[in-house]
């Protein structure tokens, strides 16, 4: 009777409606969670595609930097090689655009900020004020995924460095420089008709050129040491942040200034060319008394390169010799009728090898071996020397200022380091507006190829939405928890294998999963799980006074891509 009293009419309907409501809410929440997870997976794939495209932009930038140098001119305002600067002849941003060959909605946009001595317009700061080390080029690449419903972008930035050697110093010894009783002055082989025979001594004190720099990466006391009879027509720099005393003058005189290098100089080891002609039959290459002529080309000596008294080595044009052993010249002459850049000698044998010139030897060469010890006594050299340790005694070294801004041994550029995520998030690429002119790269088979003709780009474009910026390696799994269900994604990238798992637990049912796949080694990866960060913004607009220019069109109004890279 009591039970009957507690049951009210209509309570069953109310109870059912309540239960149904709770179930509906629960189901809705779970459903939204599942759809959100699916969207996150889709976005992750789009971010990945943009990231790989941005990485492709860095590679394309390196390819363009590595092209043979071509300065921008009024007639052809596009620099090539390392003089592909962040501005061109017309002081407009110098860009590189590339599109995917298979997916028109994928593209990348690259700008180079150049802090090398040869830059058309040198800059020591990136777009957000980030410092660019001396001798480096900052490549900023935005990969963009476009579709009707989404636009995702990822910005990657990397510092590029040359793989070749810069003879921007007359004498460079990474660990030590000794200049005793020696004159170090300047010549310019670009002067018409110049030969070593046309050299005339000049008064350093009265008409200094100040172009022959002596430097070392070392910061120890007396890393660079002179004596009272040493004269240098240029500057002297010891290693970065070196203390007083790192340069020991001992009465020696210089016409320039002294101090510390802003950053350690690269001392790249040049790798022998695979197509080099073997000199010396696989052993020592010996040049006895008399004249020997080498045809212009690339040679490799597997043993020592030895020139004895009275030997005169003549080259008929630009010649490169890789020496695996020692290089010794005693009373000999090398290329003494040609420019220093016509005979480049690279020591490839490692720290156990030496360079030794003595007994009135004369040479017009560029000599590099970052591991070797180079000694010159009672000799004369036109060109430049780069070694681990350099010792010049009672000699003359005439630095060729014509080679100061070039790279030798290799024109390639490689990535030095990638900027971390927090930094690249601040970088932004400004896309110019206006009609893209014809792309000169298309006619010369350059890295960027394709042509930009026909359509006019207006207004620029904007990039919104999340952007993930990758620097080194980041791995983030994706995990979404909704209502009572948990969806766990996640991919783990490890050194030797890749395991991708996934398990889903929903209400009372269980879906366990798990897929194991093998992938091999994965390095430098970035995985974004669902969430993304804001990063690059791409805005339009034309800088006042600058002629509009774009290698490629990045605006929606452009229609089909016209700057096909690959």
């Amino acid at each position: 009777m009591t039970r009957l009293k507690k049951i009210k009419r209509g309570s069953a309907l109310f109870l059912i409606l309540a239960i149904a409501g709770v179930l509906a809410l629960f189901t809705g929440a779970v459903g939204i969670g599942a759809l959100t997870n699916l969207q996150n997976m889709t976005r992750e794939a789009q971010d990945d595609q943009a990231r790989f495209m941005a990485a492709a932009g860095i590679q394309a930038g390196l390819a363009r930097l590595s092209e043979p140098r071509s300065w921008p001119t009024a007639g052809s305002p596009y620099g090539r090689g390392e003089v592909w600067s962040y501005v061109n002849y017309n002081y407009a941003y110098d860009h590189l655009g590339l599109w995917s060959s298979s997916r028109p909605n994928l593209h990348a946009y690259v700008i180079a900020y150049n802090n090398t001595p040869s830059a058309f317009e040198r800059t020591a700061t990136g777009p957000d004020g980030i410092a660019i080390p001396d001798g480096r080029i900052l490549l900023v690449s935005s990969g963009i995924y476009d579709s009707d419903s989404a636009r995702r972008s990822t910005t990657v930035a990397a510092l590029a460095r040359p793989a070749g050697i810069s003879f921007d110093k007359a004498v460079f010894g990474a660990a030590e420089v000794r200049v005793l009783g020696t004159l170090v002055d300047c010549i310019d082989s670009n002067v018409a008709g110049w030969t070593p025979a046309s050299y005339a001594p000049y008064n350093l004190a009265a008409v200094p050129v100040r172009g022959a720099t002596i430097a070392s990466n070392n910061v120890a006391i007396n890393s660079i040491q002179f004596d009272a009879t040493t004269k240098v027509d240029g500057n002297v720099y010891s290693g970065p942040n070196s203390p007083l005393g790192a340069i020991g003058y001992y009465g020696g005189t210089i016409t320039g200034t002294d101090g510390s290098l802003p950053s350690a100089k690269d001392t790249n080891n040049v790798l022998p060319s695979a197509t080099a002609i073997t000199l010396g039959g696989g052993a020592d290459a010996i040049f006895p008394t008399g004249t020997a002529t080498l045809a212009a080309g690339t040679y490799r000596v597997n043993g020592d390169l030895l020139l004895y008294a009275g030997a005169d080595l003549v080259v008929t044009g630009p010649t490169v010799i890789y020496v695996d052993g020692d290089f010794r010249a005693t009373g000999a002459k090398l290329n003494i009728t040609g420019k220093p850049s016509d005979l480049q000698i690279y020591m490839t044998g490692g720290p156990s090898t030496v360079v030794d010139m003595s007994a009135n030897s004369q040479a017009s060469i560029l000599l590099a071996g970052s591991d070797v010890t180079a000694t010159m006594v009672d000799s004369e050299l036109f060109g430049a020397v780069l070694a681990n340790k350099v010792s010049l005694t009672n000699s003359k070294l005439h630095y060729d200022t014509a080679v100061s801004t070039q790279f030798f041994g290799s024109s390639a550029w490689v990535t030095d380091s990638f900027l971390n995520q927090s930094t690249t998030q601040q970088l932004a690429i400004t896309i110019p507006s206006g009609g893209p002119p014809s792309d000169p790269l298309a006619t010369s088979g350059g890295a960027t190829g394709g042509s930009s003709t026909g359509t006019t780009t207006t207004g620029g474009s904007s990039t919104t939405g999340g952007s993930t910026t990758t620097g080194g390696s980041t791995t983030t799994g994706g995990s979404t928890t909704t209502g009572g269900s948990t969806t766990t994604g996640g991919s783990t990238t490890t050194g030797g294998s890749t395991t991708t798992g996934g398990s889903t637990t929903t209400g009372g049912s269980t879906t366990t999963g798990g897929t194991t796949t093998t992938g091999g080694t994965t390095t430098g990866s970035t995985t974004t799980g669902g969430s993304s960060t804001t990063g690059s913004s791409t805005t339009g607009g034309t800088s006042g006074g600058r002629p509009p220019r774009a290698l490629c069109c990045l605006d929606y109004s452009c229609g089909p891509p016209r700057c096909m890279l690959y």
Binding site: R9, A12, F52, S491, T500, G502, G519, Y566
Partner: protein, 141 residues
């Protein structure tokens, strides 16, 4: 007895109430079962996409890490591998095959750049799906 039963007639469930409640409950259950089916479908799609994403990413990064030179031997030769994802869904096992195709080829404009492309293909209830990643590699890298 009559006095006791009289209030009971005013309380409790009548037939109409039970029928209406049952109808609503059944409708909701049927509707939610459909939603749960969609939910499972979405979860499976997510899982498949996650697997495909991870496969594509790992293969491409593996190739990038190998460098430009490592691609010479497989240039213009598609590298295909099939991976099976085995999952347990509501008590039954389901296998999904993922076909991963990697293709490296030289750029049409300069052989200094190589185009790397990974395509992962799989099949769902709604039809075949695919995911493509691509990038380029410069020869010095």
């Amino acid at each position: 007895m009559h006095a006791v039963l009289k209030p009971g007639r005013a309380s409790g469930h009548n037939l109409l109430e039970v029928i209406v409640a049952s109808t609503i409950l059944c409708t909701m259950v049927v509707f939610m079962l459909g939603l749960w089916s969609l939910y499972h479908s979405a979860l499976n799609q997510s899982k498949n996409r996650l697997v495909a994403t991870s496969l594509a990413r790992s293969v491409l990064e593996q190739r990038v890490a190998g460098g430009y030179g490592s691609l010479t031997m497989i240039l213009n030769s598609p590298q295909v591998q099939t991976t099976t994802s085995r999952s347990q869904v509501r008590g039954r096992f389901v296998n999904v095959d993922f076909k991963t195709t990697f293709l490296a080829k030289d750029s049409a404009l300069t052989p200094d750049l190589r185009n790397l492309q990974v395509t992962v293909e799989w099949t769902e209830d709604s039809g075949p799906k695919s995911l493509t990643y691509e990038t380029v590699l410069f020869k010095t890298q």
